[in-house]
């Protein structure tokens, strides 16, 4: 692999303006500044401006692929547009060596009235490619896009997936040194996405430099050797793709959990009309109700503390994969409560993964009063390595009314430990289990040849010694 540096971004910053009218006026000012050879204010932000990108530095050599990740509005596309020379940086410098191809947006250059073939010629001419070269590449472009039957139909009748295929095919078949790709592959079908990934991998291996914006972390981890994580224009992390993706994923999860936790707090004090009706009609018969004062609920059962305990009896917030799991709930019932039902909901990214509920499992003691503790043991907790939240609520004995406010009481992480006890196949398996379904179910596969059982594959987990 050649060590030639093709893309070098040195402390690049870019300002954007929030308001259209101001932005247009600043545009006029900037043009005048350019004519008069004055700088456009440099570090200083004018009113309404913010940094769309700030002090970004990256380097991409031949044979490297850089993945840009971050939420919407993080500045990924802005960086890509500056790399392509569509905008000037406000600070810093960008050096690009060689012939650049960019796929900033799908079908940007397609004229809907013209046919696919006509559009290929125009697009290629836009990219600065001679007619002779296009004529030679034409069959390959059409073949890769898989559009043989539609190439002489107007592009207006193409689906977005077909446009994506054509655009990607043109950009990659013309042998660029540097390839810039904005998140355009998301629209294609799975087969085409895979084809694109193979193509990009092949390009990287043939000593191109590629910058790639995507929301698919899987693609970044699988294809890129470097990743840049941007948040609101600033670099959060830059380095090895795997490490950056992992840090990004953890952060995403934490954010989602904080959100769901906030929702949980929101839940507090809200009593539905149905519950209120139920409570007022039964108030005199049973004490196993929530009391209502001034329209606000008061918990009959106060949750004072929740602990997560591992198989050795130690309180912790990290658990190995598929290990025994115990939740200890300390409560205080201000009045005698009739057969309270405890419920634990496990959430990942704010979504319910599973729930353990005494509504299903059955009642506990008839009357509960004062301080006490409930334990719930889940043997071999069937969760994959991720972050989780636990939402706790207590129901009245008939299961209809909440007698404690539903809220997030704990969070924990399932770690990669003990993952080696299941037979993961290939380098992507780890990735699969991290990013795939949160629930892990032991299962058995049986292979038949005709009607004869020839092999059994068990996912059985073996206890670590």
């Amino acid at each position: 692999m050649s060590e030639e540096l093709l893309i070098s971004v040195d402390l690049v910053s870019k300002k954007f303006c929030r308001y259209l009218k101001k932005s247009l006026w600043y545009g006029v000012q900037d043009i005048f500044a350019e004519i008069l050879c004055r700088d456009n204010g440099g570090r200083r932000l004018r009113s309404g401006e913010f940094w769309a990108l700030q002090d970004v530095s990256v380097e991409v050599k031949r044979g490297e692929m850089l993945g840009l990740i971050g939420q919407n509005g993080a500045g990924k596309s802005t960086l890509l547009k500056m790399l392509n020379g569509l905008m000037k940086p406000d600070m810093g410098t960008i050096s690009i060596a060689g012939n650049v191809q960019a796929l900033i947006e799908l079908g940007a250059g397609f004229n809907p009235v013209l046919t696919g073939r006509e559009n290929i010629y125009i697009n290629a001419a836009v990219l600065g490619i001679s007619k002779r070269k296009i004529d030679k590449a034409l069959p390959d472009i059409i073949d890769f896009a898989g559009l043989e039957d539609f190439i002489d139909t107007p592009v207006a009748s193409y689906s977005s997936g077909m446009k994506a295929r054509l655009g990607f095919s043109i950009a990659t078949q013309l042998d660029p040194d540097v390839l810039l790709i904005d998140e355009v592959l998301a629209v294609g079908d799975m087969a085409f996405q895979e084809k694109c990934m193979r193509r990009m991998d092949a390009l990287r291996n043939s000593d191109k430099a590629i910058v790639f914006v995507t929301h698919s972390l899987y693609q970044v981890e699988a294809l890129c050797n470097k990743a840049l994580w941007l948040d609101k224009g600033s670099v959060v992390q830059y380095g090895d793709a795997g490490e950056v993706v992992r840090a990004y994923l953890d952060n995403q999860e934490r954010r989602a959990m904080e959100e769901s936790r906030r929702e949980g707090i929101d839940y507090q004090g809200r009593v539905t009309e149905a519950t209120r009706a139920y409570l007022t009609s039964r108030d005199n018969r049973s004490t196993a109700q929530k009391t209502i004062r001034d329209g606000h609920s008061v918990d009959l059962v106060d949750i004072t503390k929740v602990e997560l305990v591992d198989s050795t009896g130690e309180v912790r917030d990290e658990f190995p994969f598929y290990s025994d799991f115990l939740v200890r709930i300390y409560y205080n019932a201000s009045k005698p409560v009739f057969r309270p039902l405890f419920n634990l909901r496990f959430l990942h990214n704010g979504r319910g993964v599973f729930e353990v509920s005494m509504l299903i499992d059955g009642h506990g003691p008839e009357w509960v009063e004062g301080a006490g503790m409930v334990e719930c043991t889940i043997p071999s907790i069937p969760l994959t390595p991720k972050l989780y939240d636990i939402l706790l609520f207590v129901r009245s004995g008939d299961g209809i009314a909440d007698i404690s406010t539903m809220r997030t009481v704990a969070n924990f992480r399932i770690t990669d430990d003990h993952l080696d006890k299941i037979p993961l196949v290939g380098p992507m398996a780890m990735n699969h289990i991290r990013q795939g379904s949160p629930v892990y179910l032991p299962r058995t596969w049986r292979f038949y040849s005709g009607k004869t059982l020839i092999q059994t594959v068990e996912s059985r987990y073996h206890e670590p010694e």
Binding site: E4, F16, N84, T93, A102, G109, A125, D177
Partner: protein
């Protein structure tokens, strides 16, 4: 291209040419800028041709009347003024050739100028998403626009020939200079169009106002009436740069006596200089425009 500093082979580290983008104004390196202007112009040709073909084929595909739209504006203007004049609603002084022919030639020439004024802004507004998402020599757009203007004009020449044959107007020897006159008018129009482009892309007022201004401008130009000689109306020919160009070009194909040659040459020279400056402005402004469009 935007702030391109072609370092060429200066750096031995690279096997391929390097492009540097920085906030620095391109004007700080006029030589580098000039070289890349010339280079971009030459590589633009292929793309400009493609865009031109695309525009003229796609333009009328979704219309019922098709290329008839090229003829309609000058025809409608001519018919209107011939009618107004015949009914004595307006009084136009005697022309040296039959009035319908006079109006037709005038409107055709004016249309060439007006098309050239509108062309840069029109093609850039059409290609906004193109510009914002693809990097290509931006000169190609302007060139494709000029191509369209020339194309429409050439088609409309059919009308002009019809008029000449119908009224049996003999062509003088100066008619051989007519293409130069026509091109000068278009160059003047293009100059106005290019200079207005940066503002026009940012503020749609320009695009909305231009047809209005051009409509009025046409009436202030001796298109449908002969050049006024008495003061203060004669000021029109002195202050209006289109007048000498249009009058001279018309004289080239009709009377053969060029009464406005002097102002014609002066205006042509100034136009060429301003056109070059307009081009520089266009290059400097485009990255800023794209940024502000934010599409």
């Amino acid at each position: 291209m935007p702030n391109l500093a072609d370092m060429g082979n200066k750096s031995k580290k690279y096997s391929v040419p390097v492009v540097v983008y920085s906030p620095e104004s391109q004007l700080r390196r006029p030589l580098v800028m000039f070289r890349s202007m010339v280079k971009d112009l030459s590589v633009s040709r292929e793309l400009a041709w493609r865009l031109f073909i695309r525009n003229i084929t796609a333009q009328y595909r979704q219309t019922f009347l098709g290329y008839l739209w090229v003829f309609l504006p000058p025809l409608v203007t001519t018919v209107t003024f011939v009618f107004l004049n015949a009914q004595k609603i307006i009084r136009i002084s005697e022309t040296e050739i039959p009035y319908p022919a006079y109006v037709m030639i005038g409107t055709l020439l004016w249309q060439g100028f007006a098309d050239a004024v509108l062309s840069p802004l029109k093609i850039i507004n059409q290609s906004k998403s193109f510009l914002a998402k693809m990097h290509f020599p931006r000169e190609a757009l302007i060139m494709a626009g000029i191509g369209e203007v020339l194309f429409s004009f050439t088609i409309r020449l059919v009308l002009m020939f019809c008029v000449f044959i119908w009224y049996r107007i003999p062509l003088p020897a100066t008619a051989i200079l007519a293409p130069a006159g026509i091109l000068s008018m278009m160059a003047l129009g293009l100059m106005f169009g290019i200079v207005l482009t940066p503002l026009g892309v940012l503020f749609q007022d320009i695009e909305k106002g231009l047809p209005l201004i051009l409509g009025m401008w046409m009436l202030l130009t001796p298109v449908v009436y002969p050049l006024p000689t008495s003061w203060p109306a004669s000021l029109l020919s002195k202050l209006n740069p289109v007048s000498p160009l249009l009058v001279t070009t018309r004289e080239m194909i009709t009377t053969g006596t060029l009464t406005q040659l002097h102002p014609f040459l002066i205006i042509l020279g100034v136009t060429m200089l301003l056109l070059l400056l307009g081009w520089v402005l266009y290059r400097l402004a485009l990255p800023h425009l794209i940024e502000r469009l934010n599409i």
